[in-house]
Point group: C2
Chain length 585, copies 2
């Protein structure tokens, strides 16, 4: 037996016992004639001691040890002289009576500590060493718990986890498919699923009324920061349900996860917000509601006062930053530069400091104190607050204000990662008009149902009507991050046909692109809907981190490479030949 206990297990109650431990040498310290070894495994660290009672052999062996050597020891558990209450085993140490070197180690290229001295690339190359560090270990343990508790909750609620295939057919969805040449069917390709969307809808058709799967998805997209070519979804679908049924079940799931994984109770119903309100008040379809600082439109208040910037603007609005009136001119200039960066694209920034003495703004010459007081009132501003105003095209300005709001939230320390503010956003537009191609696109996907009450507009031929149709869709947002999203699907053949028509497809084109699913839906499709959660991001949020990479054991870099495995790589000519392909390089 390699061990009787783990390195995180021994307590004062074990004093006097003879134990066997195995693990990695974290560090070695010498003090006088004694040596102290911190032995590490997944469960913790135990201090080992070699004192004057140790044999010469043990001393000789210990002499040769280095960082990350793997050893097995036997010894007696002793109470420590000076206890260490930073670690669970800090009350005891183990006096080595036998030492068995299991394996040596080269000196690791970076320190295996909570904060390592290794750069990102180096740590990625030696991912198996980086994974020894506590922050990554804790991230993977958290992920395991999230998955277990997700499965428990959904199973307890009658859901079946059903595995869907990874080698499927290429679908005309948004992103690019990864493809797999078929040797047995030369010239043909499988595609890796971007999501099991059609397969889960077929399962509904097959009568499996509560489906879920924690499943890998693949998108061959150019990788922005924190996107992975393969990622994991909690994929769910239900039959014989309306939106409310779905929100209830998955709000319950989120609450179960908050409680079982983080020990946090949410007793109230999660807030809900329409897409229209989210855009109006937060300039975002995924508002961070940990803090208020809502966007306020003041177009009517400030237009027509001879300030040409505002007078020519479609929309004027702003946010009120509590307690930020102390912002200096320098800070405000810097903020103005910040909103003028191309990523945001504002033309300028108007500000107003509110104090007991009155309101001082950057546009004082155009506005009376009376008008400014009305503006301040509109924001509910009090002495000490700072009002920041942008103007221009309505749609764009609201989004800019949303971005500014988040930035000010960060600067004011209002976005605490240990606070969780979940939110449902609903009633997204069904369609997006594209000026360039002069046609509508599905905002979600072409199986998303219009809201029942918008059905008349959906069958109308007026562009204005169609633009107003809401999708029966919903997103789950935590702290300004979209964690999940879904919709009630179309199950009626006429509505589906109309959707293809609205998207500018002829009947033939629709048949060609979606033939097998259209055909399947002729055999008694039930009403159904579902959603999917981004599992990597869900885990990262629960771990209080912004980046998903630490929550994936072996992630890829921004070029889609696994630098540890050195993948992708070349393959043999012979293999290409078998697959009936050749390189064009």
């Amino acid at each position: 037996m390699y061990r009787t206990h783990t390195c995180g297990e021994l307590r004062i109650a074990n004093v006097g016992q003879t134990v066997t431990l195995s693990g990695w040498v974290q560090r070695i310290r010498k003090m006088g004639g004694m040596s102290f070894i911190d032995l590490r495994d997944r469960y913790g660290i135990t201090q080992l001691v070699i004192d004057e009672s140790a044999s010469k052999e043990i001393n000789n062996q210990a002499e040769k040890l280095g960082r990350e050597y793997v050893i097995q020891i036997e010894g007696e558990v002793l109470e420590r002289q000076s206890k260490n209450n930073k670690i669970d085993t800090g009350d005891i140490e183990v006096r080595i009576s036998k030492l068995n070197l299991l394996n040596a180690s080269l000196t690791p290229p970076f320190t295996i500590e909570d904060v390592s001295d290794g750069g990102e690339d180096l740590r990625a190359t030696y991912r198996y060493l980086d994974l020894r560090r506590n922050p990554l270990k804790n991230a993977l343990i958290l992920r395991h718990k999230m998955a277990q508790e997700t499965r428990k909750y959904l199973s307890d609620n009658g859901f079946l986890e059903i595995e869907t295939p990874y080698l499927i057919s290429s679908t005309p969805e948004g992103a690019r498919d990864f493809v797999v040449p078929s040797r047995m069917n030369p010239g043909q390709f499988y595609a890796l699923p971007q999501s099991p969307q059609t397969l889960k809808q077929l399962l509904m058709l097959a009568g499996y009324d509560k489906y879920f799967q924690i499943v890998r998805c693949f998108r061959d997209e150019d990788l922005r920061a924190d996107r992975q070519p393969e990622f994991t979804q909690i994929d769910c679908e239900m039959s014989f349900v309306e939106r409310e049924d779905i929100l209830q079940i998955f709000e319950g799931m989120a609450k179960h996860l908050f409680k079982s994984v983080l020990g946090r109770e949410f007793n109230e119903q999660f807030p809900r917000m329409s897409y229209a309100d989210a855009m109006k008040y937060y300039g975002s379809d995924k508002p961070d509601i940990r803090f208020d600082m809502r966007i306020q439109e003041i177009t009517d208040l400030v237009k027509g006062h001879n300030f040409v910037v505002f007078d020519s603007a479609e929309y004027i609005g702003g946010i009120c930053v509590k307690g930020a009136a102390s912002y200096t001119r320098k800070q405000l200039d810097e903020l103005t530069e910040w909103v003028k960066r191309p990523q945001i694209g504002a033309k300028g920034l108007v500000y107003a400091r509110v104090s007991e003495e009155g309101i001082k703004s950057s546009v004082d010459k155009f506005y009376t104190q009376e008008t400014l007081a009305k503006v301040a009132e509109a924001f509910g501003a009090e002495a000490g607050d700072l009002i920041l105003i942008l103007s221009g095209d309505k749609k764009k300005t609201v989004v800019m204000l949303g971005t500014l709001r988040i930035e000010m939230g960060n600067r004011m320390g209002l976005r605490d990662n240990s606070v969780y503010a979940p939110l449902w956003v609903y009633d997204f537009p069904l369609l997006e008009w594209d000026d360039e191609t002069q046609r509508f696109y599905a905002m979600h996907h072409p199986f998303t149902s219009p809201k029942p009450e918008d059905m008349d507009k959906f069958f109308s031929n007026a562009k204005e009507d169609l633009e107003q149709v809401s999708a029966n869709a919903y997103d789950f947002v935590i702290n300004g991050t979209e964690v999940g999203g879904g919709s009630i699907r179309i199950y009626n053949a006429d509505v589906q046909a109309r959707m293809f028509e609205v998207l500018g497809m002829t009947k033939e084109e629709a048949e060609r692109q979606f033939s097998f699913i259209i055909n399947a839906f002729k055999y008694g499709a039930p009403p159904h809907g579902g959603l999917a959660f981004g599992f990597d991001r869900f885990c990262a949020l629960f771990g209080g981190q912004e980046t998903i990479r630490d929550f994936i054991a072996f992630p890829k870099n921004n070029s889609g490479r696994d630098v540890m495995l050195d993948a992708p790589g070349p393959i043999a000519e012979e293999q290409m030949k078998e697959l009936a392909i050749k390189s064009t390089l």
Copy 2:
């Protein structure tokens, strides 16, 4: 709300309640002025009745219904006149007061019944309809339970489920890889994992001492019956363990599954058998021990009696089939033809019927009753038994006898699918000599450790010594099917180097093929080992079926095609161009 209850839920206690149900029309019967509709969902069937009290509208609606139409009804629960105790809801029926047609259905191309009239190809094309049938539904529910209970057991035992990537590098393992061209790295390819073998070993190196994953694996092999290009494994690995630790944990897992999924208790330790004994007594490395009928060697007893077939044979052995002495000459001739088929390849079959009067064999002219009596004794044969004897090359004959044994087990009804006989087989040979290439091959994979006591032989240069080295490997067998297998891995650099040497690789070749794993193992690799279970087969066995296809929601056919999705298929020239490949067809 679409339903207040499912179609499997209502009981006598619900009589008098007004309920809403949704589901599929299984069948419609008319009797006098009444109509009876069997309404089906995932949970069962409920009888609906339209009696004289029904409105004209309901009667009109019902008139239009057909098989697999989706309807929603409201009605009162009534006690049935004639109860049906074959179904859980057989005590009640629901008198329809409202009927809402949710969706019509074309007539399905085959019947949705436990035994369908559809052929295999037709059912595969309409898999979503086939999945409505009870046998498939029950198979997928069983699979869900198996996965849940596997995860529960392993999590409760401290295992972490860690997801490993699907886009990895091509490895020089046994089977062919499926590959994925990389658009962002033109000319390079990812490979889909044949198993996460190296990744799980890296996780051990990273200190995650108990890992598991229910994970998809991919092998681009020519598909024999009941093989799938993508299949699911319960993949496991542990550190600081010896073989016994692993057998204990996973025997516990199997017992937990037997109990929680099938309600069967196994209190005793599972039987264990060495590879040598398995081959000797069962002619197979995966013996079906539901029945005895062991192979008995009788070379010494029957050689040298002037029967030239036996006299020229290296090995003579047989099996004793209890109670089969009544086999007619015709049956025995047919059996002789059966063993002579090329799939088995025996030259002939010698038989001996044992009766109270003596022994009658097909080789009576060469053997005295005394010798035959000794043969019968060797088999422990009694009156009424039939002895079947084959001879020839030892290795081949034993395997033939193993096949014959299974056949006779089938014919004698000894292989009852409701009986489960688990077994561990251990001490497999480490190496296989290939005469053609004049070199050794790893029987498992090149990371499998030799048994500690065979280490001297492993470092010997004599071929005879190397042939005798046992692997520290083990298989888990149920009813003659290999369900799982694994080994203690090599973690010592010298042993690993020796393995590559034995496999005929130069140091440079080994470095080239396995560089990153060899390098990783220089940083403090712990002793470790693991195993993997074939999850599809495990489920099929628990479901009492021989074929795995029904236990996979969307399987592929023998050409690797998903005929429902019509995958694989052609892709656009444009996409090929982006991937820097072109077809050679």
